[in-house]
């Protein structure tokens, strides 16, 4: 594909519902990142995969957040029992190899609103 794609683009959930956000990285990119961007803020790191291995999940705010990338390509970020403070744009990025110097290519994001 031409770039990183994310779906859905918009998601409205009632408090307490579970949601799943999908990311399709650029084909062949080894590394995949999830970031959370609250309104008026810069993105904040959530978690990082190299192929199917989740190497860093230090940014996940609680155990309600779970991410997977079972086949080393598509990734899903799942949020259980959503809370209002989970409302944000969730950005996915991929990079070719995952070195700190690699360019991260970002998707358009999924805007999650929790009512």
């Amino acid at each position: 594909g031409a770039g990183v794609s994310q779906s859905p683009r918009y998601k409205v959930a009632k408090r307490g519902q579970d949601v799943a956000l999908r990311c399709d990285p650029i084909s062949g990119h080894v590394s995949l990142f999830w970031y959370q961007q609250a309104l008026g803020q810069g993105p904040e790191f959530l978690t990082y995969f190299q192929n199917e291995a989740q190497l860093d999940k230090s940014g996940l705010p609680s155990d309600r957040f779970f991410a997977e990338r079972p086949e080393g390509s598509v990734s899903t970020l799942k949020i259980q029992r959503t809370q209002q403070e989970d409302s944000a744009v969730y950005l996915c990025a991929s990079s070719l190899a995952g070195a700190g110097t690699d360019t991260q290519y970002f998707g358009p994001g999924t805007r999650l609103t929790v009512l």
């Binding site: 770039g3 990183v4 590394s31 990142f33 970031y35 008026g40 803020q41 810069g42 993105p43 904040e44 790191f45 990082y48 190299q50 190497l55 860093d56 230090s58 940014g59 950005l91 990025a93 995952g98 070195a99 700190g100 110097t101 360019t103 991260q104 290519y105 970002f106 998707g107 358009p108 994001g109």
Partner: protein, 115 residues
């Protein structure tokens, strides 16, 4: 505390005028430095990056940035702004400690361009 600071929340410039967006970082070592631009509804796009070597870096869309170690700064510049440059600009650092593969972002500077 480690941080990335963008002191200007909002800047307004006239089309054709020059632009400088400020970025300061607070880390023990020189990190990898990036500038990203985010247009409404779009993903983050990399403008330029600095790892080492020449401290003046050229990027896309006519942007440049200068790394100044003594000031821990990486300011973004453009000699003549176009209306299409109106967007949100984020400075980011990478290559830091155990999170060497992910990026830490500033809070962003929103640029408005007036005719």
């Amino acid at each position: 505390a480690q941080s990335v600071t963008q002191p200007d929340i909002h800047i307004t410039v006239s089309e054709g005028a020059s632009l400088e967006l400020r970025c300061n970082y607070s880390y023990g070592a020189t990190p990898y430095l990036f500038w990203y631009v985010q247009s409404p509804g779009q993903g983050l796009q990399l403008l330029l990056k600095y790892f080492s070597g020449d401290t003046l870096v050229q990027g896309i869309k006519g942007f440049e940035a200068e790394f100044k170690r003594s000031q821990s700064s990486f300011n973004l510049r453009k000699p003549s702004v176009h209306w299409s440059d109106a967007a949100e600009y984020f400075c980011a650092v990478g290559g830091i400690g155990t999170g060497a593969n992910n990026l830490f972002f500033g809070t962003g500077t929103r640029l408005t361009v007036i005719p």
